[in-house]
Symmetry: C2
Subunit: 518 residues, 2 copies
Amino acid sequence: MKLTKNTAGRRVPDIVNGVAQTPYKGAGKFAPTGTKAAPPIRAAQDYPADGDKRVPSIKEALERAGLADGMTISSHHHFRNGDLLMVPVFDAAAQLGLKNLRWFPSAAFPCHEPIIKHMESGVISHIEGSLNGPLGRFASEGRMNGTAVLRSHGGRWQAVQDGEVHIDLALLAAPTADPFGNATGDRGPSACGLLGFGLVDSLYADRSIVVTDDLVPFPCVPWQIMGQNIDYVVEVDQVGDPSKIVSGSTRLTRSPDRLYIAELTAKFVRAAGIMRDGFSFQAGAGGTALAFAIYLREMMQEAGVKARFIRGGSTKYLVEMLEEGLTDFILDGQTFDLEGVRSMRENPGHIDTSPFTSYNWHGKGNFASMVDVVVLGATEVDLNFNANVVTHSDGVMLHGIGGWQNCLASACTILPIPSFRDRIPIIVDEVTTLCGPGELIDVVVTERGIAINPLREDLIQATRRSGLPIKPLAQIKAEVEALVGGPPQKPALADEVIGIVKWVDGTVLDSVFKIEAN
Amino acid sequence: MKLTKNTAGRRVPDIVNGVAQTPYKGAGKFAPTGTKAAPPIRAAQDYPADGDKRVPSIKEALERAGLADGMTISSHHHFRNGDLLMVPVFDAAAQLGLKNLRWFPSAAFPCHEPIIKHMESGVISHIEGSLNGPLGRFASEGRMNGTAVLRSHGGRWQAVQDGEVHIDLALLAAPTADPFGNATGDRGPSACGLLGFGLVDSLYADRSIVVTDDLVPFPCVPWQIMGQNIDYVVEVDQVGDPSKIVSGSTRLTRSPDRLYIAELTAKFVRAAGIMRDGFSFQAGAGGTALAFAIYLREMMQEAGVKARFIRGGSTKYLVEMLEEGLTDFILDGQTFDLEGVRSMRENPGHIDTSPFTSYNWHGKGNFASMVDVVVLGATEVDLNFNANVVTHSDGVMLHGIGGWQNCLASACTILPIPSFRDRIPIIVDEVTTLCGPGELIDVVVTERGIAINPLREDLIQATRRSGLPIKPLAQIKAEVEALVGGPPQKPALADEVIGIVKWVDGTVLDSVFKIEAN
């Protein structure tokens, strides 16, 4: 694995898991060529005329789908930490004696820790997908056989669509489905809202299996996943635990500092003239972003301003705004709580989207760039506004990218972050891992003040007389370092690449390095 | 052009419009290989970040899309005889000096007669698509440069999906759209219901233009057509005249004979045990099929039977059944009247479908085969239950195939037809043009009696004691011939192929021959 410096000045490998890579060229600079991936042509005569594609068990479905050594299995993460499907799937694969599988989830969570044993035994070669928690640590310690490949939600669609990742078999957990394979996430005892993260899998995989705990007579309406793309349907007792969709990162913050940051962010949006009739915003699921939405809602009510659309992940706070008439639409990519699920089922203005509609950079545009302002988190930011979301200051890879990179296409990207966490400054000389180029990040809001990217002369002008505590990022950095006694320690990293961070166009933005053994 | 006999015994050409053809192999016998068509990869940086893809005129959109000599332009026919888009499009192409274009509509109607001049001048080389009325006659007379290629709705999807027809530029008439290109047919002053016939075009064409007379702010919801597949948006004064969606063939019959046939058909469905709780049916838009639905509704009410779904084309009669609770769903492919349009917009149980969901034979199944009984028209039937829908007894090609071939996948296919029209018998020794193989056609209902295909021993058994006038097809044929003075004259046809009839799998089922000059 040879490392070369890309346009962002980061060292990235030329070959990853046997596949040649293109180094990052700059935002919007890589011009793709060629054609999209082309799935095999199927014929209706090879499927049951009565539409009944049920098979008795996951194990039998894996066998009938022709699962073989070295193949790629994909799955979606709409249940987040409540997924109950993929551990049994890989247990069944192990029983079948399979080896060297690649798992291509849209994200893995702490609930997937039991899968580590299948990596250790060789059933799974490696995982390509967001690795949250224990699986991320496993990779960071250099214990995974292959290299982790971190992609944004849009980047995952792009990779499949462009043929960079070929899915042999998609496993699609479905809260409700019919025997033909039509499936939806918005109803049933395990309702998780929508299934957009599994849509590209259903479209491009050679074979697809829908697994459900709520089988209804044909037709299952809505059909977020279409039976015409499905080979087999399996019934199980429980496909997912929606109560575990809400995780620590999707709860409203109670920290006074973070509430202050959230309020400051909302005030900035108002002062910059972004909060006007017909505007749009997206706020991530982090606690501070949720609080931002609540402050913004109050300001919108006061000013009598109505949004045209809000981009989800949805929460009860966004649902309340929709139901109060503060927005015409929620365009939702994932529901973060059960109120989001209910609203998606009940409100005609609560629209389900997919990474194709929202984020895919290799389409004829997408929704992300039409959002007036997006509010996101970060683990680190540097003085050039470059930001990190996947590694912590100790270098351990603990988070996926989610839609974060895709959202940077917004007209205004704001990162409301505390200036330090556990006495470790967040504003650094150079981010441990580059996930978002500074040219796309417009504002950093901390409890010590607001820093505007010098590239955004328009925002600087618009907020000049706002009375908000606007100051250079370097000044905030200096203040924090004075307070905590200097810049943070660099993480102890080996010169061994254990993962890469893809940019939204499939090029390699940065490498993630192995952490040194303690 | 060499003609060889296919499995059905029909003479078909080996090459059509320069493309090698596969002769029909039998229903469900052709096994496709290879992969689906792969559209070019696009990049969001080449589209406006604010999502505004508007250009001032159709002509400018054609130029910006790079329309060039020899290219293929596609369009949908949801406005049927009320389309106002394609005549101006080809007028603009003529103004641009373009030559040798191929038009690939989902269907052409009498309103497109002005396009004949562009075929005569060489702007258009030929049309591939259903040719209703004057354009069909133009082709039948041998006056079109290329060969007509008639496909079913599902066959059109299959042809594009499988790469048999490459669309350079799709023109999509849209009753409502936003500047990003999201579009819907269910609302706006020109609402036509849905846009499913243009969906495959938007997915696979190199370039796509949405043309609308009702531009709304982003997002246009629902997005039956997704802006992520659209290059340009053009506003015009009027995109279509929905009052002309209803044509002669979609009005309820008043003929006592045909009403009797319709009633007999409904009685047969009841007697055969098909009309039971949770069943499904599809009735075409012909006057007799509409009357059948009305008789069936009465029988369902009497018996207290509720359908699970009815397949549209929708009409006010089906909408009434949905709103009366006689069915859970209408799964609709095209709205045949304005009540259908309203219902699609208002009723959660009125679901829009596309040829992919309903008909495409080269998917992992489709809806058509799950329909318990389908009631269709025909221009001719022979003693082997083979049927014709595209040519009349004089050999003139006047109709498209529509979804007719696709519907033959139903568990029970019934053709209610008069035994003669204008003193010309409909039951013949050999159909002029073979559109549907007899093995897939189960019952022929005429005013002289009901003939059941001998292959359907189950239906024969089920209706043995029904008291219905069941008799052999040959007997009905003999009765009619005795009445009108013998079998009909064979049409006067030259040995020159002016069109082909594709089967649902892309193979060539039959040829359409030039009519002899009078």
